[in-house]
Amino acid sequence: MRIQNHPILNFEKGEEIKFYFDGKQISAFKGETIAAALHAAGVKVLGKSLFKHRPRGFYCAIGNCSACSMVVNGEANVRTCVTMVQEGMIVETQKGKGEIL
């Protein structure tokens, strides 16, 4: 799902890194957000809603709406659309509000 050739843009990819999504290893490139890396790997469901447990994906992708909140390295409510992915990062689907303590 990555763009290979583009008539206007040249994508300069960063170094290839690995991170974990719900225990599964995923490849990504340095300099991209967690949400972008997950989307490139075909992962669209990032969380479950608080009461009805409905699937949640990102909506705005620029840090406004918080629909993309996930648990990152144990910390809940991280906006994955504006947080850069890092080597070895542990990313988990967020259920509801997430544990803050």
Partner: protein
């Protein structure tokens, strides 16, 4: 507490121009942006801009970001840049609180330009929360900044400029567009944008809206239906469209939370995107020393956001004793540029919105 002459909040087209303008007037400017990279939404605009040479017409948006950053660099002695910085609060005593590197800091500027931009609206229909239903701007970020395709087949909801431009850009990225629909009986965006996507074979269906989205964990298809002349859906006109990405492009609303915290007078002005701050012709709000520029002062095109930024930065500097040596000529020119950008038939709704915003 850190002291500066002018604090500019937001490093998009309006904020960059406000910082350049304030610094070129001789003021010390602090430019803050939540992202790593300055430029705001310019960095994902791959199309050529409209307007005149003064607003960089015919140059692609991401190249305009680089032009503005070079200009910013010319005044680097007068500009401090804080990226990855979240502005948390704007208090009644003029103090700004920020979070940067996981630290909480306070700033006391003599004047402030708020250029926080706007956020994408949502549309109400059953299952509108399914993953795969994204703001059109979100999809633009995903594909043009990160090089990731949003999916295989897109239904674009909204035939304004953003909907039309993003559809075209999706096709450039190799993604199929099932259709562009809009509830309005006519296309809202520039017709040249509509024609260039239509001649790629993409249907544009006016007087159509979404009935419902269908899917278990993610969007799998969408049902659209036709609207009558009173915008009521017509039973029996339903069509199910196979799509894994629905882009919502039904307008933006100003990101005005900071202005509301500072108790700037606001008004609901639909023509400008919703809750909009009142201001005078210098782009100063009802709170002395707080200026606005760009989409937060009323949702419009990036071309006018840049001119508003130049004007607000110029006035914010003059207010605190840094009068640009060509203050009068520059101010007159910026006002003229804005008038001409808004003077045609397409600027009608902006003009009627601005009439309601003036008067503090």
């Amino acid at each position: 507490m850190k002291h500066v002459d002018i604090a500019v909040i937001g490093g998009g087209p309006a904020g960059l121009c406000a910082a350049i303008s304030g610094a070129s007037s001789g003021a010390k400017v602090l430019l803050m942006d939540r992202s790593e990279k300055l430029g705001g939404q310019l960095i994902k605009q791959t199309h050529m801009f409209f307007g005149s040479e003064k607003q960089y017409a015919s140059v692609r948006g991401f190249d305009i970001a680089d032009i503005l950053l070079d200009k910013l660099n010319e005044y680097k002695d007068n500009i401090e840049i804080m990226n990855n910085t979240n502005v948390l609060g704007l208090y009644e005593d003029g103090v700004i609180t920020i979070e940067r590197n996981e630290k909480y800091e306070k700033i006391k500027p003599k004047s402030i330009v708020v250029a926080t931009g706007a956020s994408e609206k949502v549309l109400a229909f059953p299952n509108n929360d399914l993953p795969g239903i994204y703001g059109a701007g979100a999809v633009q970020t995903l594909m043009n900044v990160y090089g990731v395709k949003p999916g295989k087949r897109v239904l674009m909801v909204g035939a304004g400029n953003i909907g039309l431009i993003v559809s075209y850009q999706l096709m450039q990225a190799g993604v199929e567009i099932a259709a562009i629909i809009d509830a309005s009986p006519t296309i809202g965006g520039y017709l040249v944008h509509a024609s260039k996507i239509r001649r790629m074979g993409v249907p544009i269906l006016t007087s159509h809206t979404v009935k419902e989205a269908i899917g278990r964990d993610c969007l799998e298809s969408a049902v659209i239906w036709k609207l009558d002349e009173n915008w009521n859906p017509i039973d029996g006109t339903e069509q199910e469209i196979e799509t894994d990405v629905m882009c919502i492009s039904v307008g933006l609303s100003p990101l005005s939370e900071l202005l509301q915290q500072a108790e700037c007078k606001m008004k609901y002005i639909p023509e400008l995107g919703g809750q909009t701050v009142l201001r005078n012709e210098n782009y100063e709000t009802s709170v002395e020393g707080i200026y606005v520029a760009g989409d937060v002062s009323g949702v419009e095109e990036a071309s006018s956001a840049m001119v508003e930024g130049y004007l607000a930065g110029l006035c914010a500097a003059q207010k605190i004793g840094f009068k640009h040596k060509n203050y009068n000529e520059l101010k007159e020119d910026y006002i003229k540029q804005l008038e001409s950008l808004r003077s045609g038939p397409i600027g009608h709704h902006i003009r009627s919105g601005i009439e309601k915003v003036m008067g503090v």
